[in-house]
Amino acid sequence: MNRKKYFELNEELHTKIISVAYGESSLAEKIQVLRAASKNKTIRDLLNSYTQTANAAKQIREEECPEEILNNNAEIQKIISSNRNSRFMQDLYSILFARPLVSAVASFVIVAAIVVSLIVNKPIQYSYKYSNAEIVNADQKARQALLIIGKIFKDTQTNLQNEILRDMVAKPINNGIGIVNNILEGELK
């Protein structure tokens, strides 16, 4: 019984049909109406007709105000034609101040540009200036230090390969394998 009433057209469902047709319904309402429309042809036809009307209504646009309304009225012309030279100011005003979003974005861009330019172009201050001889001396000492470090790495590599890996790793492993072989050979015999 409840299932049958659910798909019957009543005032509440009629209102929801209109909301769905005009695109103002919630998802739950839309689902309910579409389900009802799938079960009841009357509801489906009603939804279709409302949707047609809603789509047609959305197509309607504002009328263009004829220019002669402004041109044919002396009082309006008197107001509009004064200060024609300040058109640039009018456009600037309307762009910057009459549209808050544009104004906010423009302000942000200007402030960001100023801050970035201050950071990027900030001159580095040297408290002490070195002479050429001091720079050459420091360069030589750096090279010597690098040479020493290179020698240490080389010695370490040689030591690792020839002594540590050979004597302390490979030899004991080979000995161990030899012992295991001897044991296995003894068992097999």
Partner: protein, 177 residues
């Protein structure tokens, strides 16, 4: 200097809205022209009374009040109402995706029928419908412009949609769902 600039900005921004609303409410081009001019003059005279960024409500309220005054004064004349069809002929959007000539023609005819049906709505329902569907004002803005509660706006809009549907019953719908 800034007063003139503000005024010109307002005129450019709202002249179409004023003219459209007047046309639908008065159903007569000459009266709509008169109301539009009168509203523009009143905007200039009251420029310091409202914020430029929130002028929409004030302007639509003034337009509505003037339209009501005209409707009260004017005598009904069917010959004058027939002029409206020429005014409204081409003012609908063709930005739907179909290139099908049948569908394009169908949409044109539907929009034309809807416009005629809107003009047959009672004044109180017509004003809300035009402000919401065509002028795209929000409920709160309509409430302030017409000086009625928001719930009344919603009720009038619902009634307008139902009444519109009754007017269009004779026009055959296509299957959508």
């Amino acid at each position: 200097m800034f007063e003139e600039q503000r005024y010109r900005f307002l005129i450019q921004q709202y002249k179409n809205k004023i003219y459209t609303y007047s046309s639908y409410m008065l159903k007569n081009k000459m009266d709509a022209d008169d109301v539009t001019q009168e509203v523009m003059i009143r905007i200039w005279k009251n420029l310091d009374k409202f914020n430029v960024l929130a002028a929409k409500t004030w302007i639509m309220k003034t337009t509505n009040n003037l339209c009501i005054d005209y409707l009260r004064k004017r005598k009904a004349a069917e010959g004058r109402e027939n002029e409206i069809d020429d005014v409204f002929e081409d003012s609908y959007s063709m930005d739907h995706n179909s290139n099908n000539p049948y569908l394009i023609t169908h949409f044109k005819m539907m929009a034309s029928k809807v416009k005629e049906a809107v003009q047959r709505l009672p004044d109180n329902l017509r004003s809300v419908f035009v402000l919401y569907e065509i002028e795209e004002l929000k409920y709160k803005e309509i409430s302030m412009a017409l000086d009625i509660p928001i719930n009344t706006v919603k009720v009038y809009l619902l009634r307008a949609r139902k009444k519109l549907q009754e007017e269009l019953k004779e026009y055959e719908p296509q299957e959508i769902f």
